[in-house]
């Protein structure tokens, strides 16, 4: 009996300690969709990689969680001077870098780290420029090498960026992942040790979580940074359980093996809504799916033809069939979640009779053309082939015969960039919440032969977006962009098809999760009940 009592007491003690340790350590498991390509976000462009590096790093400015509003982060404040050509950042004091097996920081974050993080990508003679492949696609893609004239450390807590020309989206760019701040002290140490690439493989940042371990295609483990400058995260451990198949992610969520999953199958949404253990969050995505007309090729040089074809497309039917309801008809080239979205724009109505008439007016009969359909699935277009088929059928009703063309993805991008298409389906997800990131990148004259698949360079539109780019007054910029959207609609270089709705199934015990409009997945500020 005595033995039994002792045994029972030990058992109870163990059970209680197990319970209390489970209580003490909160672990949130996120079933991520793939392996990151690496942990230095400056090298990569994929959202999966940014999700994995974001917990580790901070930027000078960051987007408020769940919004596209930029707010101070490692920079407490900034000032714009010299006609928009100088940005001076006042840095936050007392920010600590993570301590790892290889590195214990001897000082707090300061201006040297900011200069290092940018100079590495900008200065071709920087000792770190070529380390780990030295391919800074976002930094280059955002035009930073030509924009930045100099990066100056004014004092330990002040950094100045001199620009070659005014650039209003510059602060928004500072909130992008390529602008993550790394430790200059760690970089020096690794360079001296002859292992500079360790800076990119075993990252050290100031972020809310610290990397503990990564097993490719299996798991990424993080622990909360106890010294985080904005306060320790509410969860103690963050685990990315890499699960590529969406159906399997859903099964794991149901079984409680993960708390949050991205990119559910549209077919599973109905069951998720009914599941008492799951909350299905949803928000309009920061994206646009479109069909671009090659405006350099006849008859698409004629605005009447483009307008007529726009009027022939039944977009509502596309939303129902392709997005299965998880989308919204697009009328502007920017999504409604971006400031300066022009709600006054009137979309081309679905009117096959009027379309037919307009085509006849333009002298176009028996038009033979093609529709390029992407071979990949994207949030802004979950099934391009199906979308192309629907457009093909709509156009057939107005006497236009379209052949559907598709290539392997790399080839598709290359050929459409070269302007081989008549019409091409593509889309865009915003990077920094600035209208310029859609309007200039996708429709600007500089982007012709690149990401401007309509090959459309229209001076009245271009003048407006260029004027908006160099104005730092947001109200003024809003006016200019709203006008630009009206011109876009009149000229119809694209048929704007849809903005997708992003769904995020989470377990009921997850508290405070907010959908990131940029499509990222952020766990600082999230708790478990």
């Amino acid at each position: 009996m005595k033995k039994f009592v002792i045994g029972a007491a030990i058992g109870l003690g163990l059970a209680l300690s197990a319970f209390s340790s489970a209580e003490a350590a909160k672990t949130l498991v996120y079933c991520s969709e793939g392996s990151p390509e690496g942990f230095n976000p400056a090298f990569y462009t994929s959202g999966t990689t940014f999700d994995a590096s974001r917990p580790i790093f901070n930027k000078l400015a960051e987007f408020e969680r769940g919004t596209t509003k930029i707010a101070p982060a490692l920079a407490e404040s900034w000032a714009v001077s010299n006609g928009g050509k100088t940005y001076t950042f006042k840095l936050r004091k007392g920010v600590k870098f993570h301590s790892t097996k290889n590195f214990t920081p001897s000082r707090n974050f300061n201006a040297d780290d900011v200069v290092f993080s940018f100079a590495r990508q900008w200065d071709k003679n920087h000792p770190y420029y070529k380390v780990s492949g030295g391919s800074y696609e976002y930094f280059n893609g955002m035009g930073m090498p030509d924009l930045i004239k100099d990066i100056v450390k004014v004092d330990d807590y002040t950094v100045r960026f001199d620009l070659n020309h005014p650039e209003a989206p510059f602060i928004a760019n500072m909130g992008m992942d390529f602008a993550s701040i790394m430790s200059a002290e760690y970089a020096d140490k690794m360079m001296k040790a002859g292992t500079p690439e360790m800076v990119d493989q075993n990252p050290v940042g100031t972020g809310p979580f610290q990397l503990v371990a990564y097993q490719k295609d299996a798991v990424i483990r993080y622990k909360a940074n106890p010294d985080y400058w904005a306060g320790k995260a509410k969860i103690d451990n963050l685990v990315f359980s890499i699960t590529t198949d969406a159906s399997v992610r859903y099964q794991k969520l149901k079984a409680g093996e993960c708390h949050v999953m991205p990119y559910p199958n549209p077919a599973d949404l109905a069951a998720m809504r009914k599941d008492p253990k799951i909350n299905l969050l949803q928000q309009e995505g920061l994206n646009v799916g479109y069909l671009a007309y090659n405006t350099k090729k006849a008859p698409f040089t004629d605005v009447r033809v483009r307008k007529a074809l726009n009027m022939a497309i039944n977009k509502k039917a596309i939303i129902d069939a392709v997005f299965q309801g998880a989308g919204k008809v697009a009328k502007n080239p920017i999504p409604p979640t971006i400031w300066s979205y022009n709600n006054a724009t009137k979309d081309d109505p679905y009117d096959p009779a009027a379309a037919k008439k307009l085509l006849a007016e333009a002298g176009v009969t028996n038009l033979q053309t093609n529709i390029w359909a992407m071979p990949v699935q994207r949030p802004y277009n979950p099934n391009a082939r199906r979308m192309a088929e629907l457009i093909q059928a709509d156009w057939a009703k107005v006497g236009v015969t379209a052949k559907i063309v598709s290539f392997e993805w790399g080839e598709y991008l290359k050929r459409s960039k070269a302007g081989e298409h008549d019409t091409v389906l593509l889309g865009w997800t915003g990077d920094n919440g600035d209208p310029d990131n859609f309007l200039a990148v996708l429709l600007g004259c500089d982007a012709v032969g690149g990401s401007n698949r309509a090959e459309w360079c229209y001076k009245p539109f271009e003048d407006l977006i260029q004027a908006a780019k160099v104005t730092s007054d947001t109200a003024e910029r809003t006016k200019l962009y709203k006008k630009a959207q009206l011109i876009f609609k009149q000229q119809a270089p694209w048929a704007t098809i849809a903005h997708s709705i992003v769904f995020m199934p989470i377990r009921k015990e997850v508290v405070g999760y907010k959908i990131d409009p940029f499509g990222g997945h952020i766990f600082y500020g999230v708790d478990l009940k």
Binding site: T45, N140, Q215, D217, V248, K252, L413
Partner: protein
């Protein structure tokens, strides 16, 4: 025996060289510019594209690229992934143990179930058991792995809650890999419940991967047994009054095993191919999934390096199978 081994290795060298050509050429035959794929919708400028082509050496003539690939191979250098910038050999070695562990369990499951089922079906030809085994084998053989895998997950993990959905071990257990084999590492870790968790994670992927080889082995064993059982020496053995168990187990089985061993050897290739689907469904971090990702990303160095290593493994396994024949059947001893 030694001369036979030398001759077989002599054949392996030109085969291996041929494989290098296929591995190198295969990924380059698939349309798609690796740099465009890397950049995605965002694209890269023409100048940057040219810079990257030079950086990765893709601007050089194809034969020059091949020769440099071959020269590096001879120095044991498989190159660096153009996506992760990590040495291909490191990535392969990190992921390979997971595939080996899964494949070994898969083949052991296939043999453990397929062999006895095939023997019994052969001996009891025409019985209910025979029909059941053959029907099950046909269904197993015909069922796509991804479908079987998902059905099992829904039934055993979601509805019954018997097994975990996917992965190699519960996230509750964390230890540094020693061998890369989760069963061994979890045992060595000494953490209570870790080994059990690793075993439970292996069950469904093992069945999913092992089902097709199991079906093939069962059918092959049955037909080999049928053939052998009608031989004169079996009738003689029976006439001598040997027990049925001895006739089947010793006299018949030994001869019936020769084609079965060949089949098992050939299943290694099937297992590696099946691992691609199984690893994707069960989030199993092995080389199958890595190869698929690398092909989609047009990661030339990873694909050519990975293919080469997989081909080398299949060749070595087949060599071992050839040598095993001699042990099983003295008539095929490689003496000359």
């Amino acid at each position: 025996m030694f001369r036979f081994l030398l001759a077989r290795i002599g054949v392996l060298i030109p085969t291996f060289l041929g494989v290098t050509v296929i591995a190198f050429g295969f990924i380059r035959l698939i349309p798609g510019d690796p740099i465009e794929v890397l950049a995605g919708e965002r694209g890269v400028s023409t100048e940057r594209h040219a810079e990257l082509m030079i950086q990765y050496g893709f601007d050089r003539p194809i034969w020059e690229q091949y020769l440099s690939f071959l020269t590096n191979l001879l120095h044991g250098d498989f190159g660096q992934s153009i996506v992760t910038h990590k040495p291909v050999i490191d990535e392969f070695l990190t992921l390979f143990p997971a595939t080996v562990e899964l494949s070994l369990c898969g083949i052991l499951f296939a043999i453990a179930v397929g062999l006895p089922a095939g023997i019994i079906a052969g001996v009891k030809r025409g019985s209910v058991f025979d029909h059941t085994v053959m029907t099950t084998a046909l269904v197993g053989y015909s069922m796509p792995i991804f479908w079987l895998g998902l059905l099992m997950i829904i039934l055993f993990s979601s509805i019954l809650g018997w097994t975990p959905v996917s992965g190699r071990i519960s996230y509750l257990y964390f230890f540094d890999p020693v061998t890369g084999f989760m069963l061994i590492d979890s045992y060595l870790s000494g953490q209570e419940g870790a080994f059990r968790s690793a075993v439970s994670h292996l069950i469904l992927p093992t069945i999913a991967l092992g089902t097709i080889p199991m079906a093939v082995i069962a059918r092959q064993t049955r037909s080999a047994m049928l053939e052998v059982l009608s031989e004169d020496y079996v009738r003689t053995a029976r006439a001598k009054g040997l027990s049925p168990l001895r006739v089947v187990g010793v006299h018949a089985l030994r001869n019936a095993l020769i084609p079965v061993v060949t089949t098992i050897g050939l299943q290694v290739g099937v297992l590696l191919a099946g691992a691609i689907l199984t690893e994707t469904i069960f989030s199993w971090p092995g080389i199958g999934k890595w190869m698929v990702d690398s092909i989609f990303r047009r990661d030339y160095t990873s694909v050519q390096g990975g293919l080469l290593m997989i081909a080398a493994i299949v060749m070595v396994v087949n060599l071992i199978v050839d040598l095993l024949y001699g042990l099983i059947n003295p008539r095929i001893r490689h003496t000359r």
